[in-house]
Amino acid sequence: MTSFSARLLTCGNRRLWTGLAVGALVFLVLVPVLNLAVPVDSALHLPNYMVTLLGKYLCYALLALAMDLVWGYCGVLSLGHGAFFALGGYAIGMYMMRAIGSRGVYGNADLPDFMVFLNWQELPWYWFGFSQPWFALLMVVVIPGALAFVFGWLAFRSRITGVYLSIITQAMTYALMLAFFRNEMGFGGNNGLTDFKDIFGFDLALPSTKMGLYLASAVVLGLAFLLARFIVTSKLGRVMMAVRDAESRVRFLGYSPTAIKLFVFTLSAMLAGVAGALYVPQVGIINPSEFSPANSIEIAIWVAVGGRGTLIGAILGAFAVNGAKTWLTGAAPELWLFLLGALFIIVTLGMPKGLIGLWAQSKARLFRRSAVTEEKEARHA
């Protein structure tokens, strides 16, 4: 264990730890202070809705991080990660539905409202256990993880790669969407799960609960970032990159790309599930549209915009694209999809390394210029 913590310390350089500390300061100190301590009429006050919005972005960032691990490092372009996110969301949603108890419209202590409405007499077996928080939290990672494991095992073992893998992951999320739309599935059909009252005994309507969920999202993102960083700086991380760049060559060294991709894909799906579970209590609803294939494609765009295979780029990309989306859907909603498409084309053609790459490039250029001017000045002197 001591060697483990030593390894953890070496997984980042000073810049990384500084960056992480700054991030913690902003999200864990500055935001709560601006929201809670600064008077409401002050220009610096951060309104409650902004806290929840930031909380949502943090969940997207966690989702993007999960995507970067499997795509940016392992070369597996999953276009079904929205499904894992949604399943994590449904798992926590089922707990929150059960927690409503007899406070629903129909006042049935055992059945959620939509089941009473469908004239169901008893709870389906797969809802058992979800009244227990620990069970629901376990399912948040177990269900997406199990699906990813089985799906990945079938796909990677048959050596399905590249665009074929992307297509079948799209098909997977699409199939799940159709299934969850059906009322008979027992997940609220079209409307999904909503009208939640509280989570782990905390009233969801209270700003303090919202702040708590926001803070939890920030902390979990930080921990997930460290975990991801630990993995990508390990020897496994280098084998993952080797799989990404020359999969068949890795086999001849005796590694099993199937096992490696399966591990990363499953872990990534679990992280996506956690992101969904943090997201749903903050937005108050989960419905089958979260499974829509377009959602999963959007995740890939966040990562591409931020910069693949850098972890931090995925987080930046999620914030940047979703920030733009929030702003534009307010200003000109009909333009959003066009902009997203254009963004994708610009990034793939013009900036293959995303925002992170752009930043590194401009820094390099700046350095070169200052070196040149210094040289000139030196000559003149």
Partner: protein, 266 residues
């Protein structure tokens, strides 16, 4: 333990008997691509500790033979046995690599985005399981082993450089270095000196002879460069249209009229 896990051939008097004492045994191996026979009833036996050179015109099937041995291509027919009784046709690439067969590809393939050092680190003989790889820490002894290999393949000053930035010849060397790190019992080298200068070629020949000297490993070297083949001074097998045309010393096969015809006839 290994023997339990590996499927073995249990025919009373089949290839097992003929394969006795061999490290590699190919018999009647046929591979067709859309009807075209890249290997046509190829047979070849390699003794433990042997160094063998394989020559043959373009398209003779040399690379395909290595594909079959390393599990990349499944033969339509024929026996491929490693260490007398391990049936390689039933194993996949990583299982075969773990058994002790290493390969250098015709087109040098190194991991371009990793450093030279990291390329060697990945090749280092260690537990290949995912979790062991995740928690792997390089020991001092292993670091020394990498440093020694870097020295041996002349890349000591390039350890931190990205492998993608190496010259063609240097990539060949790095790939040979990766083979050394794996500490395999059978090494297959597909055109190891292609794209090398004369001096580099000479150094490579010395390295290969050095590897073959203590007879702890067996080597199969495919090469077009006859100077190089001569420098190795080993038994030569000539492949042509997917089967063995001649076998013997270099002088003997060069004097063989069938071989002369194949080489001059095109």
């Amino acid at each position: 333990m290994l023997d339990d896990a590996m499927p073995t051939i249990d025919m009373p008097a089949g290839p097992g008997v003929l394969a006795a004492g061999s490290i590699l045994y190919l018999d009647g191996v046929t591979v067709s691509f859309d009807g075209f026979r890249a290997l046509n009833s190829l047979s070849l036996v390699l003794a433990p500790g042997e160094l063998r050179t394989i020559v043959g015109p373009n398209g003779a099937g040399k690379t395909t033979m290595m594909d079959v041995i390393t599990g990349k291509t499944r033969p339509d027919k024929g026996d491929v046995l490693f260490d007398q009784n391990i049936d390689l046709t039933r194993l996949d690439e990583s299982a075969i690599a773990t058994l002790g067969i290493g390969r250098k590809f015709q087109k040098p393939t190194v991991f371009e985005h990793l450093s030279v050092f990291e390329n060697l680190e990945l090749a280092l003989k260690t537990n290949r399981s995912t979790l062991a790889t995740l928690f792997f820490r390089l020991s001092g002894q292993q670091a020394e082993q990498i440093a020694a290999t870097l020295q041996r393949v002349g890349l000591a000053d390039k350890a931190r450089q990205q492998a993608g930035s190496l010259s063609h010849g240097q990539k060949q060397w790095l790939e040979i270095g990766m083979l050394l790190m794996q500490d395999q019992r059978l090494l297959l080298l597909d055109e190891p000196v292609a794209g090398m200068t004369d001096a580099e070629t000479e150094a490579t020949a010395e390295l290969i002879l050095d590897l073959a000297r203590d007879k702890t490993r067996s080597l199969v070297v495919v090469e077009h460069d006859m100077e190089f083949v001569r420098a190795l001074g080993a038994k030569v097998t000539v492949l042509h249209e997917g089967s063995v045309l001649a076998e013997g010393s270099l002088d003997a096969v060069q004097a063989n009229p069938k071989v002369v015809e194949v080489y001059l006839g095109r």
